[in-house]
Symmetry: C2
Subunit: 216 residues, 2 copies
């Protein structure tokens, strides 16, 4: 009726879809290059080439190197979560906690470097700090949920502020991840679990209650 000739009615990708796909590929490439070279050390040329495009394509999708970096750092946060519920149904809550954080660290080895890079960027460019604060709070909130569920099941009374415990657990984890890159032999894979167990043990003791020690 409305389209004579051999023009395909449904191209595989519309122009908008093609552009969105290019954007995604550029973001993926930028993730790798920024992680490997750092924000200042990375060049837009290497990012574009690594994605299989030209510099012009990059600038047609992002206003500047800085905006590409910022978009990347706020886009990536959406990628995980929601495996929390399933992991909690397992046995030892501490094991579940360890597994959760370990998984997020191992999923992409570059992610730790990228996080350090963004921390430095935000420290030096305070206008970007809000985004990082939001990410941290999201992480801590997720841990609060897990930890309060775990302590409830475990018998630790709820008079210990879960937010503080979550902050401590996250700090310990992040510190260990960085130390492991420096001295792998002295940071065993089980040390984090050990630390969490000790911390929770101290929690129960401080609460003046002798609950069941839980499985171990």
């Amino acid at each position: 009726m409305n389209d004579p000739g051999d023009v395909p009615r449904q191209p595989r990708l519309t122009r908008a879809e093609a552009k969105a796909r290019t954007r995604e590929q550029l973001l993926d490439a930028a993730t790798r290059v920024f992680a490997r070279k750092g924000y200042a050390g990375a060049s837009v040329e290497e990012i574009a080439e690594s994605a299989g495009y030209s510099i012009g394509a990059l600038y047609s999708n992002f206003a500047s190197k800085e905006q590409l970096f910022l978009e990347l750092m706020s886009a990536r946060r959406e990628r995980r979560v929601n495996e929390v519920a399933s992991i909690l149904h397992a046995g030892d809550p501490v094991d579940a906690l360890v597994a959760l954080l370990d998984r997020s660290a191992e999923r992409d080895p570059d992610l730790v470097a990228l996080r350090a890079e963004f921390w430095l960027y935000a420290v030096r460019n305070p206008e970007a700090m809000d985004a990082l604060t939001a990410q941290l709070r999201r992480q801590v909130d997720a841990l609060i949920g897990i930890i309060s569920a775990a302590t409830e099941r475990w018998g630790t009374p709820p008079d210990v502020p879960a937010a503080e415990v979550a902050t401590l657990v996250l700090a310990m984890f992040q510190g260990l991840v960085r130390q492991r890159r420096i001295d792998p032999d002295r940071v065993s894979g089980e040390l984090f679990g050990q630390g969490v167990r000790w911390l929770f043990g101290g929690l129960r003791a401080a609460s003046g209650q002798q609950a069941s020690p839980g499985p171990e």
Copy 2:
């Protein structure tokens, strides 16, 4: 006898001393600039100017920007330590521990950024990792001394490996320092002390021994 005329016998600074002084000033300036701009983002021009010298003076004292950075990172580690003994004579060992680490973090706000910068550099340039490993081990060893002294006095039996505890304490501290830059309101100054106390409490509980709970 050996020097006629008006040549000063003892110039305030010999040439070697003057050069050493210039080196020190350049290293100090480099510390500030690298911390503020990052390794890749810092320029040798800004470093030289910040020290009150020219680019030529910088290259007369250091072979390259990279060598300046590496020398800086291995030179700075010598600057503290040796206040450990005095601090241990105080009352609560945990308070002493907290004070020790807090002091090293507050002495120079730039130091935390510089550490992150060096961590990233070493991750990306493995030939520099050895220096970082040595620094970390030094830190952990110092903590082992303090912690074993504290636990002995406190009644925790020595069957818990002090190295693991020291690693955990340091990880928790470093994680909290970084989190505090992101969200100061949720990382109080006392949280680290609280965490250490909980951790030690769990240690005592895990040792199957009910020692005196210590002061608090």
